[in-house]
């Protein structure tokens, strides 16, 4: 042995990875493991939640707090942190079922760290809590952690012994359905940890992880220079570009309604660092590193592959939420000609060479590593080389790497987001999400027009180029028909005198808002799938071929718009004007009246 260091911190990090079934009692489990390995457990910043909750309980009129979310959102952890911050003893936390504390304001705090441990329908807990929610100065206040399904079910089943129970159940369900991180009503504040911003969470997590003193124990290990993938990945994880691409993906997941709880994010981080197909459980231990280095298989531990769980078996990957969700982006499989040309011909073609060197050449570990050229040659010559990794597999790894390493300045040139299923995700991030973080409304009108073009094609069933106005049409009998030839109404895109179309925040979320009159709005909340659908239709995809469900989804929006429209128009029966919607030679839409005289007597 040449003296590779065995770092217990690395051993500890494995606990977070997709190794064991670590579902139940994860919090306790991690604490024990940290102790065993003689390291400090990770200390995460709660993003202000902890402080806010503690402040509430210290105030003169504290309210009850419900922490909800899905498994792995850190509910128990946060509960314990609150307990500690309020001066609760660690021993009582671990060993007692009675967790109560006197609060400065005089009330007594009852902590329920897991509602499912209590047979809520049989106990008085929920009726007592219900009373407390509506009391002016409650004697008892509560801190309850429960995942959202259990929370809803517990209140649904709680015995209706007092009138407050029914009321409380309704209040809590309403808070839950609001889908906000923090919602309050009466004497209760509900934090839905599933609504935390995963990107922000990941940033804080990476900061804590990278700054951990455990890494200093790697000092002096020869692996640092000889090609230990764990160390290399640790160094690369500091890369600002990689972090921003990763958090972009997480932001898009959030927007798509695929929230990733903190436990899954820890799993992702741990796998990115330690993942390698040769390791036990596909995660490397320090003692396995030397063997991997000797065999020249370091590149298989690439942090960029590990981010998508390439080191894991397909079954485990599919079963693990974070990889299942991230893999929906299709990164590695999706590509464009520019990138594939570079990959295949970049080394030989003098025109492509500079770009190739810029994107691949500089990275001898995970870019053009020794096996790469050999495998490419075999591929170009049509040889089967058994000992080689097939080039098609290498290409997947390279595209995954590119996703994290292509410099922002080149993103447009190489079509970065074409490496994903969501080709318009970049536009969505930069054109919608980012601007709306600081402003109420997107000022750049081109995106609105692109979406309106998509809507027009869906609404009319024609391949129009019209993006100046939104056209509403029906078939005469049915507004949901594939092709609609009857004009029902139109609206200028430009916002004037309260009418028009814009992308702005609606109930706190990004939406395409159609204002039919001042104050009369119908909103289409924008998430990644809808945005992609409308952009692709605007690009020329056939609506019902691209995604039947998205198509129906947009047609529902048309229904709602038309319903509003008809209400505004009032009872139009008296003057019936029939207009045909025509597609002119330039692809524009126009309406033409069909004339008849219903009122002439005969």
């Amino acid at each position: 042995m040449s003296g590779y260091v065995r770092n217990t911190w690395v051993t500890f990090l494995r606990q977070y990875g997709p190794v064991a079934d670590n579902d139940a009692k994860f919090d306790e489990h991690v604490l024990a493991s940290a102790k065993r390995n003689g390291v400090e457990a990770l200390r995460l910043d709660s993003g202000g939640l902890l402080e806010a909750i503690v402040k509430n309980f210290r105030s003169s009129s504290p309210r009850s707090v419900i922490l909800t979310g899905t498994a792995g959102d850190g509910k128990t952890w946060l509960c314990r942190e609150v307990w500690k911050a309020l001066g609760g003893e660690s021993l009582r936390w671990t060993h007692s079922d009675e967790r109560t504390l006197s609060l400065p304001g005089g009330a007594t705090l009852v902590v329920i760290k897991d509602l499912s441990e209590i047979r809520a329908e049989q106990s008085d807990l929920l009726p007592d809590m219900a009373d407390a929610l509506f009391a002016v100065r409650p004697e008892w206040v509560y801190l309850v952690a429960a995942n959202d399904g259990q929370l809803r079910l517990a209140w649904e089943r709680a015995s209706r012994t007092r009138p407050t129970v029914e009321r409380a159940a309704k209040v809590i369900e309403d808070l839950l359905v609001q889908g906000e991180l923090r919602a309050e009503a009466d004497g209760v504040v509900l934090y839905n940890l599933s609504r935390q911003d995963s990107a922000g969470l990941m940033k804080r997590l990476l900061t804590a992880l990278q700054a951990h003193e455990g890494w200093s124990r790697c000092n002096g290990c020869p692996g640092q220079t000889e090609g230990c993938s764990i160390w290399a990945n640790h160094e690369r994880l500091d890369d600002v570009l990689l972090q921003s691409r990763l958090t972009d993906l997480l932001t898009l997941c959030d927007q798509n309604g695929n929230h990733l709880p903190v436990r899954q994010l820890l799993m992702l981080a741990s796998n990115m660092l330690l993942g390698h197909p040769d390791g036990k459980d596909r995660m490397l231990k320090c003692q396995e590193v030397e063997g991997v280095v000797r065999k020249g298989r370091t590149s298989l531990g690439s942090i960029y592959r590990n981010a998508f769980g390439e080191n894991l078996s397909a079954t485990l990957r599919d079963r693990t939420a974070v990889f299942e969700v991230l893999r929906r982006f299709g990164i590695g499989e999706e590509t464009n000609n520019a990138i594939d040309n570079l990959l295949v011909y970049g080394t030989d073609d003098p025109e492509l060479r500079p770009a190739f060197d810029e994107l691949f050449g500089g990275d001898a570990r995970y870019g053009v590593h020794p096996g790469f050229q050999e495998s490419l040659d075999a591929y170009l010559e049509g040889r089967d080389a058994e000992h080689l990794e097939p080039f098609t597999d290498l290409a997947v790894a390279q595209r995954q790497r590119l996703f994290f390493t292509t410099p922002a300045a080149k993103a447009e040139t190489f079509g970065l987001w074409e490496l994903t299923v969501f080709r318009h995700a970049g536009a969505f991030l930069n054109g919608v999400l980012r601007p709306l973080q600081t402003r109420e409304e997107v000022t750049d009108g081109t995106l609105v027009r692109q979406l309106v073009l998509g809507l027009n094609r869906v609404f009319t069933g024609r391949l129009t180029n019209d993006s100046d106005r939104l056209w509403l049409a029906s078939s005469g009998s049915h507004s949901q028909a594939r092709v609609c030839r009857i004009y029902e109404g139109d609206l200028d895109v430009e916002v004037r005198r309260g009418r028009g179309i814009s992308i702005k925040k609606h109930e706190g979320k990004p939406a395409l808002v159609v204002a039919l009159e001042r104050g009369v709005e119908e909103a289409l909340p924008l998430h990644l799938v809808r945005f992609e659908f409308l952009c692709r239709v605007a690009d020329g995809a056939l609506p019902s071929n691209f995604s039947r469900e998205s198509y129906e989804d947009i047609l529902s929006f048309k229904s709602r718009l038309l319903r509003r429209w008809k209400v505004l128009d009032g009872d139009g029966d008296a003057r019936f004007s029939l207009k045909l919607l025509l597609l002119n030679e330039k692809g524009g839409l126009e309406d033409r009246a069909v004339r008849f005289e219903l009122e002439v007597s005969r």
Binding site: G476, S479, D553, S556, S559, L562, G572, D573, E597
Partner: protein, 525 residues
């Protein structure tokens, strides 16, 4: 427990009264749910008596007098020369003249005289030239043709229907028997609509249905209705054209199903969908309730077959246990109606006092007389006329065979026909028919069942309670308990529904453990 049934009608023209005794006279497989709606609306529009959806005391059915509207139908469906006229002539007057003269020939076979010159006042000349008024007329006709119900079918022109924009658009299915003679045809208007109408009369929701339908499809002042009305000559607006008809026999005076049926229709009509968008959803609901009516009445005769369940596959990319069970359930349900026919013979014929007396009778002539009486009483079958064997066992075998044959031709096919027509069943992804709902039907179900929002598990429970639909593991408990399926298979099935509803914009997921189905048309204002 079988619900109370009304006595048979006095006059029966059918040679066997068996399907009719159980399900009524009659449900017919070739009449699609859309045609059922049209027939039903036609009755509502022309029912005799003071109020719609009201049946006189004693459940005798209702009289109605459909308007035939031959002028309108000729213009729309029997004038293939429209484009030709437009092409051949350039002058507006010449076009009108040519068309009017072609119409003369086209209506030659029909009873009565037709003069279409009134159309020229409806489409006046444009001031300052431009396209002539005939062009406007052509556009209107083409529009009405494209929106016609099942308009692209190659049915004969007297079996094509205008979209039900209002009362002026409703007319019955007819057959031109010979020159100058039209008869009511019972192929596409086979009385399904009459039975549905009676079910709704007996639902106790008559006034509410009347009020709701007035704004949806029976509004005489609706724009499109007025336009269609003006395409017809004034004389045809009097309801004296067709003969008075009487609704068929609906055996059950009261059923809880009737109320549930009417309530579903009412919920849909009160959503305020734009224009006529609610009609396809009404059609789906009519089809679904007819399927349930068929199966539930059958179930009352076949108690050993258990409750009516519709095991639904939410279509999966590959074969699953749920798909097999859905196929099995569909097949069993299809056979249920024929088993009911068999059970009816066993229970009503064989156990009748007359038949029992016949069996005890020594004298063969006497016995034959008694057998004949028993068969005539129970199923209106004339044993003599049909030359049935006189030996009781052989005779019964023959009766059963006859009944099954007849059943198989039409009513036995109705379950499949209706289920397929409304997207409740399909062969998608396999060769075998099974329950697998379409997106459109899912929309209808959400619109009907969900108020503003409903927790996903409650939604599954509601579909089960109302329609016997089995989608998730809790509803499939009976299958899981007897080992036909594991919980995971139905978990996956429910999960697929969750995902599908989410992409249809009908569901909001809070997490893996918590999701709400949302009715976008009920969203708070």
């Amino acid at each position: 427990m079988r619900p109370e049934r009304l006595p048979f009608p006095i006059k029966i023209e059918s040679e066997l009264w068996l399907d009719e005794a159980i399900w009524g006279h009659r449900l017919y497989n070739e009449q699609t749910p859309w045609m059922t709606l049209l027939e039903m609306l036609g009755i509502a529009a022309t029912q005799a008596g003071p109020r719609r959806f009201e049946e006189p005391e004693g459940y005798p059915g209702v009289d109605y007098q459909p308007v035939r509207r031959m002028a309108l139908r000729s213009i729309l469906f029997n004038a293939p020369f429209l484009d030709d006229t437009l092409r051949r002539h350039t002058d507006d007057d010449a076009r009108w003249d040519a068309w009017l003269s072609s119409m003369k020939k086209a209506t030659d076979e029909l009873p009565g005289e037709f003069d279409f010159t009134y159309l020229r006042t409806l489409f006046p000349k444009r001031p300052g030239g431009g396209d002539g008024s005939f062009v406007d007329f052509v556009e209107v006709v083409k529009l009405l043709r494209t929106t016609a119900i099942e308009g692209d079918s190659n049915k004969r022109w007297t079996s094509k229907f205008v979209f039900p924009y209002g009362p002026a658009c409703l007319f019955p299915d007819l057959r031109l028997v010979k020159k100058g003679e039209l008869n009511a045809d019972r192929r596409f208007f086979a009385r399904n609509g009459e039975l549905v109408y009676l079910m709704l009369c007996r639902s106790g929701r008559g006034p509410a249905l009347d009020e709701a339908l007035r704004t949806v499809a029976l509004n005489p002042t609706a724009s499109w209705n007025r336009l269609v009305e003006r395409l017809q000559p004034p004389a045809e607006q009097s309801p004296s054209v067709g003969p008075v008809q009487h609704t068929g026999y609906l055996p059950y005076p009261t059923l809880p199903d009737y109320g549930a049926f009417a309530d579903d229709l009412l919920v849909l009509m009160r959503l305020g969908l734009p224009g006529y968008d609610v009609l396809p959803h009404l059609v789906d609901m009519i089809g679904l309730h007819l399927v349930l009516y068929l199966l539930r009445r059958a179930a009352e005769w076949t108690p050993n077959e258990g409750h009516v369940r519709l095991v639904m596959e939410i279509v999966a990319p590959k074969k699953t246990t749920v798909r097999d069970l859905a196929v099995e359930c569909f097949t069993a349900n299809t056979q249920r109606t024929s088993k009911a026919v068999d059970a009816y013979i066993s229970d009503v014929v064989v156990r009748s006092p007359m038949w029992e007396r016949a069996l005890a009778q020594e004298d063969s002539t006497e016995r034959w007389e008694m057998m004949r009486a028993a068969l005539s009483d129970a199923i209106r079958l004339d044993a003599e006329k049909h030359g049935l064997p006189t030996a009781p066992d052989a005779c019964l075998d023959e009766v059963r065979a006859k009944a099954k044959r007849r059943h198989g031709e039409h009513l036995g096919e109705a379950h499949t026909a209706y289920a397929q027509a409304i997207g409740l069943a399909s062969r998608r992804g396999t060769r075998r028919m099974r329950y697998a709902p379409s997106d459109q039907l899912l929309k209808t179900l959400v619109f009907t069942v969900v108020g503003e929002r409903m927790e996903f598990q409650h939604f599954l429970a509601a579909l089960f309670e109302r329609y016997g639909m089995v989608i998730g593991p809790r509803q499939a408990e009976y299958l899981i308990r007897d080992g036909s399926a594991d919980r995971a298979a139905f978990d996956d099935n429910a999960y697929r529904l969750e995902m599908r509803l989410a992409s249809l914009g009908l569901l909001r997921r809070l997490s893996d453990a918590c999701a709400y189905v949302e009715n976008p048309m009920k969203a708070p204002k």
